[in-house]
C-alpha cells in the first residue's frame, strides 16, 4: 500500500501544482535555512574526538590576582607545567604551546619563509590520535634529551619535499638543524580542541617539535601569553620564572578513579605552592574533559547561537504556512475523500494516505532544502573567506543530508497533523451529492 499511497501523493501534487510547490518551497526554505545554521552549530559546537570524550582532560590551575574575581587562567605557567610534567603520573600527558620560525630550505629555488610550529611532548600524538603519513612521533627520551627532531605537516612536506618521504632529512629552522622523523597526514580537527586559546577554528601548525626545545633554543614563542604579575627582571629566564601563563597542559586518564586521583594531585600541588606564597586565590583548579572545555571556553560563537534561534523561528513561520496550505489542499479534496470512504476507506487508511501525502511534500521539500542548505553553506564559506579560518568543513555531508530529509519529512507531517485530522473526519454524506 505504501507505493500506492506514494503514487496517489504524486498524482495529488500534480493536481494542485502551484499550491503543492508553494508548500515544497516553504518547507525547503525553512529546513534549508535551519540546516545551514544547524551544520555550523553541529560542527563548531561538536566534540571532534568523541571516543576519547571521558579520557582527555585540560588542566587549569588558579593562580591569579586575589583581588580580582577572574576565572582560573586558560593556560599554565612554566613552573607549574614543568612540575606536573616531571611528576608524570597521568597515563599520558603533554605540554604544548605555539612558536614561529624561519625555515631555510635546502632547495635553493625556495626562499626562506616563516612557518608556524607547536612544541609538544611525545604523548601529544598518541593522545590526540594524530595520523602519520611517514615515520613516527618522537619518544619521551627525545623530550628529555633535547633531541633536535621535528615532525612536519603534510602541507609543509608537500611544499618542501614535493610530498615525498622526507624522514631522515635535515631541516634548517631558526638557525638550527633538525632531523625530520615524521610527517603527519591530513589532521585538522574542528574545533581545534587541543588549542582553543589561539583561534578555535584555525588550521593546525606546520612543524611539531619536542616542547623543551622552545626553552633550550629560545625559539620565538607564539600564542596568547597573560601575566597577572609583572615579570621580575628581563631576559628569558626571568620570563620562565614569572607568573605568566602560556602553556597548555593536557592529560589522558583512563577512568574516573584516575581522574579524581589526578585532581587530588594538582590540588595537593597547589596547596604546597601556597606554602611558598604562590596560588594566593582560594583553591579552584579544574580538570575539564574536551566537551566541558569547549563549553567553558565558549568556542561556539554567539553569532551561530543567535542565528540558530532566528532560524528556528524562520522554520516555525514556514511550518505555520505549510499548515495553512496543507489544510486548503486537503479540504479541496473533500469530495475525493468522501468517495474513498464510500468505496471502503476507513479513517485509519485515510490517515495513512494523508500522512504519506504530507510526508511526500516534506520529502521533496527536504531534497530542495538540502540543495538550498548546500548553497547557503557555500555562501557562508564565501562570506567568511578561506584566509581567516578553516572553512573546508562548511558543507553538507551525507549524514547531514539524511538529517535534513528526515527533519523535513517529520516537520511536514507534524505541520500536517491538524489538516490530516480534518481530512480523516470529512463527512462523506455531504460531499457525495452533486457539487
Amino acid at each position: 500500500m505504501l507505493f500506492y499511497y506514494l503514487r496517489l501523493s504524486a498524482l495529488s501534487y500534480r493536481r494542485n501544482p502551484i499550491l503543492s510547490t508553494l508548500m515544497v518551497l516553504a518547507v525547503a526554505i525553512g529546513i534549508g535555512a535551519y540546516m545551514v545554521i544547524f551544520t555550523l552549530n553541529f560542527v563548531m559546537g561538536g566534540n571532534p574526538i568523541p571516543h576519547k570524550g571521558d579520557q582527555l582532560f585540560h588542566v587549569q590551575m588558579d593562580i591569579g590576582n586575589p583581588n580580582e574575581s577572574f576565572n582560573p587562567p586558560d593556560q599554565l605557567t612554566y613552573i607549574d607545567s614543568m612540575a606536573l610534567m616531571n611528576d608524570g603520573r597521568a597515563f599520558r600527558q603533554t605540554v604544548s604551546s605555539k612558536f614561529g620560525g624561519i625555515i631555510e630550505p635546502d632547495n635553493p629555488e625556495l626562499r626562506p619563509f616563516a612557518a608556524s610550529g607547536r612544541g609538544a611532548s611525545a604523548d601529544f600524538f598518541a593522545m590526540f590520535d594524530v595520523p602519520f603519513l611517514y615515520g613516527t612521533a618522537w619518544d619521551s627520551s627525545a623530550d628529555e634529551d633535547l633531541q633536535q627532531v621535528v615532525v612536519l605537516s603534510r602541507e609543509l612536506n608537500e611544499r618542501l619535499y614535493g610530498g615525498t618521504d622526507s624522514t631522515g632529512q635535515t631541516l634548517r629552522l631558526e638557525g638550527n638543524s633538525f632531523q625530520i622523523i615524521g610527517v603527519i597526514d591530513n589532521w585538522n580537527p574542528v574545533p581545534k580542541y587541543y588549542d582553543v586559546n589561539n583561534g578555535p577554528f584555525d588550521t593546525g601548525e606546520e612543524i611539531y617539535l619536542p616542547w623543551n626545545l622552545i626553552v633550550s633554543l629560545e625559539l620565538p614563542r607564539g600564542g596568547n601569553t597573560s601575566c597577572y604579575k609583572a615579570v621580575d627582571g628581563v631576559g628569558f629566564q626571568s620570563f620562565l620564572n614569572s607568573e605568566c601563563v602560556w602553556i597548555q597542559y593536557w592529560v589522558e586518564l583512563q577512568d574516573a578513579d584516575q581522574e579524581s586521583d589526578y585532581l587530588t594531585f594538582i590540588n595537593n600541588y597547589a596547596a604546597e605552592q601556597k606554602q611558598l606564597g604562590r596560588f594566593e586565590k582560594p583553591l579552584n583548579n579544574n580538570l575539564l574533559d574536551v566537551e566541558e572545555w569547549l563549553v567553558e571556553q565558549e568556542v561556539l560563537p554567539d553569532e551561530t547561537r543567535i542565528l540558530s534561534a532566528l532560524a528556528t523561528m524562520l522554520l516555525a513561520v514556514c511550518l505555520l504556512n505549510t499548515i495553512g496550505l496543507l489544510l486548503s489542499k486537503f479540504l479541496s479534496k473533500s469530495a475525493e475523500i468522501g468517495v474513498r470512504q464510500a468505496l471502503g476507506a476507513h479513517k485509519g487508511s485515510l490517515f495513512i494516505q494523508h500522512v504519506i501525502e504530507a510526508g511526500f511534500i516534506g520529502l521533496i521539500g527536504g531534497l530542495f532544502g538540502a540543495v538550498l542548505a548546500s548553497f547557503g553553506l557555500e555562501g557562508i564559506k564565501i562570506l567568511l573567506g578561506d584566509d581567516l579560518m578553516q572553512t573546508s568543513w562548511i558543507q553538507l555531508d551525507l549524514n547531514l543530508v539524511g538529517i535534513t530529509i528526515v527533519l523535513a519529512v517529520a516537520c511536514t507531517i507534524l505541520a500536517g497533523l491538524y489538516p490530516i485530522w480534518r481530512a480523516c473526519h470529512v463527512n462523506p454524506a455531504i460531499h457525495l451529492k452533486t457539487q
Binding site: 500500500m1 500506492y4 498524482l11 495529488s12 500534480r14 493536481r15 469530495a335 475525493e336 468522501g338 468517495v339 474513498r340 470512504q341 464510500a342 468505496l343 471502503g344 476507506a345 476507513h346 479513517k347 485509519g348 487508511s349 463527512n427 462523506p428 454524506a429 457525495l432 451529492k433 452533486t434 457539487q435
Partner: protein, 237 residues
C-alpha cells in the same frame, strides 16, 4: 438482506431539531430493483446515506445482511461498505487524476487483494462496460455516459450485495441515460440488488418496486407495487 425497522435520523443544531427520517421501516430482498422517489428534502438522501453506511441513524434497527450496523465502529462500517455495497453517484465521482484502471482499482485496494487478482477483476469489469481499450485514459477524456459506466464498473468490481445509485442519470442526456439504465437493468437481471434514488416519477412507476418518501416517512404503501412490465418500461424511456 436489508432490513430497516423504525429507523429515525435526527439532525440537531443549537436551535433546531430536524427529523430527516422518522420511524422508517423497509425490507429489501435479494435481486430486487427498488426505486426511491420523493421531493427535495424528503429524506431520500438521508435514507441512502444510512443504507450506504455513510451516516449513522439515531434510533431504530438496521440489519444489513443480518448484521446490526448501529453497533459497528468506523473500521467495520468501512469494511462492510467495501465488501457489500456499490455506490453510483449522479456526478460519477471518479477520481480526476487516476486513470480508469486505477479508478476501478480503488475499492479493491481497500480490500487488500493481491495484484494479479485485482488486475483480472478490473479488466473484466472494464470489459463488461465496454471500455477496456481505454483503461489508461483519465476521466476527463470520457463522455458523461462513459464516466458513469466506469463508475458502475467500479461499483461492481468488488461483487457487492447491492448497488446504491443516487440519481445515476441526473447528469446525462436522455439517450445516454437510456444506455446507463439498460446497463443497470442487465446487472439487476444478473442477480445484483439495485436501490436507485430518482426524481423521475415515470421511471419510478415502471420499476419493479417504488418507494415514495415524504417528510422522512414512506408516504403510501399503495405505490410500492410491482410494475407489470419493468423491462419494457425501462426500454421505453
Amino acid at each position: 438482506m436489508l432490513k430497516m425497522t423504525d429507523v429515525s435520523k435526527v439532525f440537531r443544531t443549537e436551535l433546531v431539531e430536524t427529523h430527516a427520517l422518522s420511524d422508517f421501516s423497509l425490507t429489501i430482498d435479494e435481486g430486487e430493483f427498488v426505486t426511491i422517489t420523493g421531493p427535495s428534502g424528503c429524506g431520500k438522501t438521508t435514507f441512502l446515506n444510512i443504507a450506504g453506511l455513510l451516516e449513522t441513524h439515531t434510533s431504530g434497527e438496521y440489519l444489513l445482511d443480518g448484521t446490526d450496523v448501529l453497533s459497528l465502529n468506523d473500521y467495520q462500517r468501512a469494511k462492510l461498505r467495501n465488501q457489500k455495497i456499490g455506490f453510483i453517484f449522479q456526478s460519477f465521482n471518479l477520481m480526476p487524476d487516476l486513470n480508469l484502471f486505477d479508478n476501478i482499482d480503488v475499492p479493491l485496494r481497500y480490500r487488500g487483494m493481491k495484484s494479479a487478482e485485482r488486475k483480472e477483476r478490473i479488466e473484466a469489469a472494464l470489459e463488461s462496460v465496454g471500455l477496456l481499450a481505454r483503461k489508461k485514459h483519465v476521466p476527463s477524456q470520457l463522455s458523461g455516459g462513459q464516466q458513469q459506466r466506469i463508475a458502475i464498473a467500479r461499483a461492481l468490481v468488488g461483487e457487492p450485495l447491492f448497488l446504491l445509485a443516487d440519481e445515476p442519470t441526473g447528469n446525462l442526456d436522455s439517450n445516454t441515460a437510456q444506455g446507463v439504465l439498460e446497463l443497470l437493468q442487465e446487472i439487476n437481471e444478473a442477480g445484483t440488488t439495485i436501490i436507485m434514488v430518482t426524481h423521475d416519477q415515470e421511471l419510478a412507476s415502471r420499476s419493479k418496486r417504488n418507494i415514495h418518501i415524504l417528510d422522512g416517512r414512506i408516504s403510501s404503501p399503495a405505490l410500492t407495487t410491482v410494475s407489470s412490465e419493468p423491462q419494457a418500461a425501462a426500454a421505453s424511456i
